[in-house]
């Protein structure tokens, strides 16, 4: 992180990873021709071209999900901008950097707070950098297209090996698998660890069209990773986003994935995210969802072997007409595995959240512990739906699940007010306190402060709730 940013920013061919020189911009209809055009544009290996074709066949065959399907029942899919998808590959590096939140510019500061960063804008990489200490160990955080040339075999081994990160999981995953462009690749080789977190930013402006970002994270045996990934967009018309995140934590690995979602008000997003956790590996997954018009997230942790450990924590703050729908899944496939999930939602105005949570314990997965809690704090006329579930096919397990829907506590408000804090400010303190346990899991003080500030702002956009 020693050099200033502008030495790296030249539009394409970043750090020499880009392969052949490319056109500045690419705009395509989302159709079968686009599959070939993307493979050509990025000079992809034959296996990726074949994988895209195969996925496109799935896409053409599959129907859009129907609201009769349980997972889609509470989402007004009809309002998604599903038709006439456009693909644009149009990075604007300087603008992308300028739009980064202050905290993200830390690699440029005298005291770097992160060890590596990759920034995507409008479906193409705009900037990437990694510090020498990490690079020397073979750690990469880079554009997935470029990585196909440098880490092709590795990517091929892991490509869409998740339970739900597969082309045929639903129409959205098929679309992503066929036409993904813009991708984050993070690789931490056996035993390696960066000194500080890695960061990845995915941004779109009104030139950006449909978001089809793909994130692949591989953390090998005994390696450690903290990855912070953020998403931002600015669009003036309804726009679709179909995203996939694949995380593979190999034996004894330690992975913290902090996923932030700040989509613009017109974005409709489906994300399918799957972490696969091997023997004695630890995953801490923090999911912060604040933006988008309507979002549907499938968030799944598969605990594959004894000693696998998965903690999932999430917060959403839904306002106005936002609909935020999350399906979580904790799979205990092996004995002596541990999972713990805490998702908290704050809702105000006419917003709606849906939480489907499932803990599944396979036969033979004895000695398992699986916990799940979903707490919803209602302000205004918002509605929270919580549908927790357990499927347990082993007998020596400790599992619990619970969901609550509540309003601000009058006794707590009185206590704060009795100390001179005005009602409205007391409400804000309680809202922030409600989300605190999740915020505390976010690394970097500047990130936590930034989130606190956003939550405070979202709260302050509305009038007093309970007076």
């Amino acid at each position: 992180m020693s050099k200033p940013a502008n030495q790296h920013v030249n539009g394409n061919g970043l750090n020499g990873n880009g392969g052949a020189a490319k056109a500045e911009m690419l705009t395509l209809e989302a159709n079968t021709a686009a599959v070939e055009a993307l493979s050509d544009y990025y000079a992809e290996p034959a296996w990726m071209r074949a994988a895209r074709r195969d996925a496109w066949a799935h896409y053409e065959r599959m129907d859009w999900p129907h609201t009769k399907e349980e997972a889609w029942r509470r989402l007004p899919l009809a309002r998604y901008p599903l038709e006439n998808r456009q693909i644009a590959v149009a990075p604007n590096p300087l603008q992308a950097l300028r739009s980064l939140p202050a905290c993200w510019l830390s690699p440029l500061a005298p005291q770097p707070q992160v060890s590596g960063i990759v920034v995507h804008q409008n479906g193409a990489v705009a900037y990437q950098d990694i510090e020498a200490q990490a690079a020397k160990q073979g750690i990469v955080v880079m554009d997935l297209h470029a990585a196909l040339h440098t880490h092709g075999d590795l990517i091929r081994r892991y490509w869409m090996q998740g339970t739900i990160t597969r082309p045929d999981f639903n129409k959205f995953t098929a679309l992503n698998a066929a036409l993904w462009h813009g991708g984050t690749f993070v690789y931490v080789p056996e035993g390696a660890r960066a000194l500080r977190p890695l960061q990845a930013m995915v941004g779109y402006d009104d030139q950006g069209s449909t978001g089809l970002h793909h994130t692949l994270v591989v953390v090998e045996k005994g390696a450690r990773l903290t990855l912070i990934q953020d998403r931002r967009s600015l669009e003036f018309l309804p726009e679709l986003n179909s995203e996939m995140v694949e995380i593979y934590a190999e034996e004894g690995a330690w992975v913290r994935y902090v996923s932030l979602q700040h989509w613009g008000e017109q974005r409709h997003s489906v994300s399918v995210q799957n972490a696969r956790v091997a023997r004695d590996a630890h995953l801490l997954w923090v999911n912060v969802a604040l933006g988008g018009q309507m979002t549907k997230d499938f968030l799944r942790t598969d605990l594959l072997a004894p000693g696998a450990h998965g903690v999932m924590q999430g917060l959403t703050f839904a306002a106005k007409e936002q609909v935020m729908d999350q399906s979580t899944y904790q799979l205990h496939q092996a004995p002596d595995t541990y999972s713990d999930l805490l998702f908290r939602n704050v809702l105000r105005d006419q917003a709606k959240t849906v939480f489907y949570g499932m803990i599944r314990v396979e036969p033979g997965a004895q000695g398992t512990q699986g916990y799940q809690a979903n707490n919803n704090l209602l302000l205004g006329k918002a509605r929270a739906h919580a549908i927790p579930g357990l499927e347990i096919a082993a007998n020596d397990v400790r599992c619990s699940h619970g969901a609550t829907v509540s309003r601000l506590d009058e006794e707590q408000l009185f206590y704060l007010q009795a100390r001179g804090i005005a009602r409205y400010d007391a409400e804000q303190l309680l809202v922030q306190g409600f989300l605190r346990p999740i915020i505390e899991r976010v690394p970097l003080a500047c990130m936590r402060d930034g989130l606190d500030e956003e939550i405070a702002q979202r709260f302050r956009e509305s009038p007093a709730q309970t007076q």
């Binding site: 009058e410 009795a418 100390r419 005005a422 400010d425 303190l429 306190g433 989300l435 346990p437």
Partner: protein
Amino acid sequence: MEQTLAQTLEIRDLHVRVEGKEILKGVTLTVRPGETHALMGPNGSGKSTLSYTLMGHPKYEIVGGEVLLNGESLLALSPDERARRGLFLAMQYPVSVPGVTLYTFLRAAASAMRGYGEAARRSGDQRLHAHLIPAREFRQEVNAEIGKLKMDQAFLNRYLNEGFSGGEKKRAEILQMALLKPRIAILDETDSGLDIDALRIVSEGVNRLQAELGMGLLVITHYQRLLNYIRPEHVHIFYNGRVVHSAGPELVEKLEAQGYDWVQAEFGV
């Protein structure tokens, strides 16, 4: 800001209902600047109801009477407005607030009391910390006060009252009082839960503040031991929803020795 210096609290023939039932049945009591009043009475007689009512808890319905601070009625004011006018209640059962650290809470409260919020609102400053006392300045002040109360600084990073022991909660109440510098303080069984040393430390803190601020004190307690440290000039017996008898400090010893049985006979309540 809204606080002036010394304040007089006047309660006149106060009647209060809780969930339809009359609990306070004509309370009359005046606390002048620098005075210390002890309020003693059997369980369930309505002492905490009085203290919550004075602070403006929404659950209590006032059906008659008046509460004045320096001649101005408090009854239409919200709890935070009352606090900003100088009223403080150390609660019998402090509420825990998970997710809000003691430090965050103290800073928010002290800032509100000292007008930082108003100043930020007026100037339209939207930044997260604009309505708060600068961190470094406040940190020093808190550390000084927490030291005087012999509390561990680690409490500052814990969630407010969450998992605090009974005595720790009571100490934290007095820490709040020290930072918020009220003009009239009501201590509702602050002594319950305190160990012998803590009782002395907390009492010394209260006396120090009273000397500094000329604070009027209304001390609700069941036991003489607190009043050996915080010496009241006036002692009131609270019985069945009102003050039935007032006298000097000698009354404490009589109550300690005889309990409340004689009260009923003597005052016909």
